[in-house]
Symmetry: C3
Subunit: 163 residues, 3 copies
């Protein structure tokens, strides 16, 4: 199951990188409308523990099957966060374009998310990798399918913003 890397032109490569940077920027700045605008209407969002992926188990922590569900989930997370206030900081790196087809791009990138509480104490919250499908809509790249494969499966209850 070795994944080779796809060759894409440099503008596309940069634009894909920018999409991930925007994704993290909007989450960390709690600009959730801007964040939602990075998804197409028919998009899906999943968070899956890594061991389930390895064992081909279907269980997901979060499963949003369209953009309305992603929006609902976001509202629920924001309400929970009112009682457990903290901020997030996403570090995204190791971008790797696996496939480029007429249907879009399959892309992975690693993330480390750090959370800081109201006393300014930061801790590692979650590390993992994105396994996404990205499409071009009216000239702009957007997420068709967002999958966060989560190494850190022990803290889902504290999930305050999407990974």
């Amino acid at each position: 199951m070795t994944e080779t890397r796809a060759s894409v032109d440099r503008d596309t490569r940069d634009a894909i990188g920018d999409l991930f940077v925007d994704y993290a920027y909007f989450l960390d700045h709690e600009q959730f409308d801007d964040w939602l605008a990075l998804f197409v209407e028919s998009s899906t969002y999943k968070a899956i523990p890594r061991e389930n992926v390895a064992q081909n188990l279907p269980a997901t922590l979060i499963l949003c099957e369209n953009k309305a569900m992603i929006r609902d989930r976001l509202v629920a997370l924001q309400q929970a966060n009112e009682y457990n206030i903290h901020t997030a900081r996403h570090m995204v790196s190791n971008l790797r374009i696996l496939a480029a087809t007429p249907e879009g791009y399959r892309v992975t990138a690693n993330y480390a998310v750090f959370q800081t509480d109201q006393d300014g104490r930061t801790r590692l919250f979650s590390v993992g990798t994105y396994e996404d499908r990205i499409v071009r809509v009216d000239g702009e790249l957007k997420f068709q399918d967002k999958v966060a494969v989560i190494d850190t499966a022990s803290v889902p209850t504290l999930l305050a913003v999407p990974l």
Copy 2:
């Protein structure tokens, strides 16, 4: 207050990325003269807790209003570090160019700084984001204003090298 992303040519984009890499490299290698050379004479350096930025509070942890003050601060930090020896490692990612004007570039990037003590124990020291203004001087990019917006506000006393 949504910040759009500015479009710059690829050479400039790469050069801005390189400036951040140099900034981290010189700090981690304690090449402080090289690090200082990345700032223009009239440059400012600030470290601000994130919650102060969010609430528009002016309080800063560190405020250097010109390059001489940055140099003084650096000397003070090095002296403090003689009694509390540890090394730093900066991870910088999520570069985002917010604006490109004739006066320069406004740029953000996220950082995670790890500290290691003399027994080889590493801990997360600080995460946050840079909100910088970069200018071109004699063909080279330099920092005009460096602002470290610090998520991790609980450990300023241990600050051994600049963030």
Copy 3:
């Protein structure tokens, strides 16, 4: 001992970045044959504590003087990992090309490796920097010499995959 940065064309720069991403991807996915294919036959792999480098001490934690030794080491690590199962996640950033000569490229990049155990608990495992020599073989970039300079010298016994 200030290291300047070498100027290379953008395709080479991207290809060097991709090599590091592949290196981390194959390790994290435990695709070890693919990982080994990133090294030339005569390649070396070293892991050295940072303070030894600073003091010019020769002691290394790991020293593989050719590709067969790297392969042997990998097998030993995999056997040890059977009794101490965890997964790794490499974040690589701050790529810096120090030199470009007919013999190849000298390149540094920072890493942070996170380990997750079977209960889904993640911890910071090691941070440090790579100081590598990369060569072009039949049009492809490969590692000639891989040196992991390790800040975190306190946990070598848990080394499950190469850094």
